[in-house]
Amino acid sequence: MANQGSRLTRQNLHGWLFALPGFGLMVMFVVIPFIFAIVFSLTNQRLISPNPTEFIGVENYSNLLGLGGLVIEPIKDDEGRWVLDSKGEYKYPRTRKFTRNNPDHPDIQGMKEWFSWQWDHKKVVVLASDPVFMKALVNTLTFVAVVAPIQSLIALCLALLINQRLRGINIFRTIYFMPVVVSIVVVSLLWRFIYDGQNGLLNSVLASLTFNHFEPVDWLGNPDTALGSIMVMSIWQAVGFHMVIWLSGLQTISPTLYEAAKIEGASSWQTFRYVTWPGLRNTAILVGIVITMQAFALFAQIDVMTNGGPLDSTQTIVFQAVERGYGKQDISGGSTLSVVLFVIVLSISLLQRFLTREKN
């Protein structure tokens, strides 16, 4: 008995020693920088500076996340009636009149306009102390909200297609998986040429398909199409990876279940709904969480293709973090963005786990 006990602990010790290199590297390159990020976000750490680093508390966070509001009345003429411009719309004084050097509004000094709308005759303005971050946040959430479901769905369809016992099915599996293997930077460069406004492949193909009725579109230079173009490219590149994960899930479903369904006379949709889909539950959870995390980390495509894009339409949180931390030498600002991103991703992952938990 005593012998067994000591052998057990001896075995555990070896286990720890084996795990030490991998575990140690993870601590060194993931855990420690993570702790540093939290610490730096509470200071004014710069990338290079002879000034000593000072602790500034949550000032970085309030500068990043600060929001404010303003309700502006239309301009009145001398008789107190509202002035209408040539289109018949009200004219409003510029927002900068209220937010710059205006002692009447002390808590919104320095803020900039994020978006506004008209309510009654008044203009309601939402202000942010960092509108670029707000746009990055909105863009990132839009990207995740669009890419996660679409990419999972396409990957599932492809996996269903390649889950057949046909001759040469491996060729198709290879073709669909190939974009994943190519570096994202190379893919971004190639797609930048495809999306080119004047001579790009996409414009040429669309023009020839529509017999030259199609006007060339500057896909990456137009704020309305830039983010969508990047979504399409990202889905194309990553779909193979999730297709393989779905495939492995599909292959764990016992073939006897399919045989039973066939005997019962189920249609293919009924087979999918009652046999395939329940068997894919765990795979679906995995794919959902992995796609969401990867989508939040959107960076390489932006850096290579649009650099934040026309009028901040392709700004993302990670891109802003790198731009601030390394480009503008403000490590504390970049760290703050990283911590905020971590909190967002953690909350969404926990929410996903909660929604997909086993209900006993």
């Binding site: 290079i48 500076s49 509108p131 004047q198 026309p310 009028l311 731009e323």
Partner: protein, 424 residues
Amino acid sequence: MRIKMKKTLQAISYTLIASPFLSGAALAATDLSLWYHGAGNPAEAKVINQIVADFNESQTDWRVVMQSFPQESYNDSVIASALAGNLPDILDVDGPVMPNWAWAGYMQPLSIDEKRIEGFLPGTKGYWDGKLYSIGLWDAAVAMVTRRSTLEKHDIRIPTLEQPWTKEEFDQILVKLKATGEYDFPLDLGMAWKGEWYPYAFSPLLQSFGGDIIDRTTYASSEGVLNGDEAIAFGEWWQNLFAEGLAPGTSQDAADRDTGLADGKYAISWNGNWAALNALKAHDDTLFLPAPDFGNGPKIGAASWQFGVSSSSKYPEAASQFIEFALKDKYLTAFSNGMGLIPPTKEAAAASEHYADGGAMAVFYELSEKQAVVRPVTPGYVVAAKVFEKALADIADGADVADTLDSAADEISDDVQKNAGYGH
């Protein structure tokens, strides 16, 4: 047999151990490391390799060993190695970035006799805090590049240094050229060249309007300078160029930028002297015209890559010695002949192919002398350049001019404050 082998082995090993000492003087030379940003450019590499070889031959105390980096990643490499404590002895630094590195403690002042560089163009001398930190072997300038035939065909006055185009004249010229329908765009500003080109090429236009990137009296804030009335006037003129289709915007193809003027896509190109050699090869009636005067005198950029000594170098005197060696006129001329760069001294210019009196690019030397304004000499330039670039790109894409300039001015002023004034 065994003893003989042992003796032979002993003899061989003793010879091997003794040989370094036998080689003598060559290995007594101390290595000086030099980092250069010109990897991939054969003409540049030829000249700098020649300088290094000549210096190594001319004396036996020091041996310079050069390492070349691609220009795009050079700054990042230097910052990363500075954080790791691995800087070389001699390094190459872009003129406006030098104050940032000097303030951060990466560079130390040069020990070069000031009289040696008296005749140098002002843009090539890198001063910070009253001390000389870097010196350049060439300068760079920008001009309006076009063809004589284009101007004569459309009845446009050829401007001179004394009488450049005025703002009204320039606007009319662009509208006239657009109306002919012969060109994709009348003016090519080079919006495809993202990065340092934007502040280098376009801040002189802002300065000609009367604004600036930062207030140069205090270097503490951009308020009123980057978002004052003159700057807003510049911003609106800038936005108008793209709104009216007078210049290609931020989506310009890089290939179009390189060949557009030569191919006839553009009538006038705002380009630097480094691209001038290609323009001259394409058409022999190429003209290099001075910048327009938008109200505050015509202005162009100045200052290019310069050499300096790192603060961690163990042999700063020797490093300065190498840099002084490289300032010889024959090397300045060689750089100019090889790459079309502006030689910093009149003597080197007179001896060069393109900048001698009557040379095709001689006008650049005069432009550099009379119209050049260096970018703001402040450690905060690194951030200010990025902010300014984004502001110009956003205005070109259609953002509100006053709000964009406000944001940019705020960001630059806040950054200076966060860094305790950047040592000013």
